[in-house]
Symmetry: C2
Subunit: 144 residues, 2 copies
């Protein structure tokens, strides 16, 4: 195994541990909000990308379709999304965020991300730039 391969393996290891730990820390921020992190992520994506089918949304969030079905059922019950029929394909649905969701979303996001934003503010601008670039690289890494 060459040096580059070894280095990449070490990076995979470090990145995995860092990502798992940050993910746990973010999830544990569970008080004071009515939406779970997963629900919030789905709504954020819908707002950013516009209406999507459940399958498209599942693909964006890297979950399997049945997992998204559950998230959407909860959100629909709370009046935060509505489903409409696809214009030409009767199998598909289109999920839209409601006005109620849009009104909630900014406050929810601010509360859920308060700890992280606070920590990020303690970094140098250069370090924040590194994390911006890293976020983009990670998203690209996840593309099919």
């Amino acid at each position: 195994m060459g040096r580059t391969t070894l280095d990449t393996a070490a990076l995979a290891h470090d990145l995995r541990l860092a990502v798992m730990r940050l993910s746990r820390r973010l999830r544990s921020q569970r008080a004071d909000t009515s939406l779970t992190l997963t629900q919030l992520a789905a709504l954020s994506t819908l707002r950013a990308k516009g209406p999507l089918t459940p399958g498209e949304l599942a693909a964006c969030e890297r979950v399997q379709p049945p997992s998204m079905t559950r998230v959407l059922a909860t959100l629909e019950g709370a009046g935060l999304v509505v489903k409409t029929r696809h214009a030409t394909d009767g199998r598909q649905l289109i999920v839209h965020v409601t006005d109620r969701a849009i009104n909630l979303l900014d406050d929810e996001i601010r509360m859920r991300e308060a700890w992280l934003a606070q920590r990020l503010n303690e970094l140098s601008p250069a370090e924040r730039d590194e994390l911006r670039r890293a976020s983009a690289i990670i998203e690209r890494l996840l593309e099919p």
Copy 2:
């Protein structure tokens, strides 16, 4: 709210979504191995840092003590860790990885990280450097 604060909020948002998605993707790599990702992370940390108390290990992994109790119970049942008594404080335990764990670990890690290492290899060296720096920044972000 100033421009920097807004930018930091946007970074918090993007980083959260990227980290959640990568974490899900990594967790879904669940076939062909006998250890779960959480168990593997605990063993990796124990091997890297040497014997730790359950409480110290929980702090490293950013989980609450009862969560680590469960992970350790499984690992102990599989003969992958052993607990010894603390030399002077009867309340504390020391967790050690066994030879069996050390023999398993490299193969398990390679299998679990194969997808990620493959993807990382498709990046440029400069991008891998970005992710190396980002991993370190994230770990620092998590410090209490």
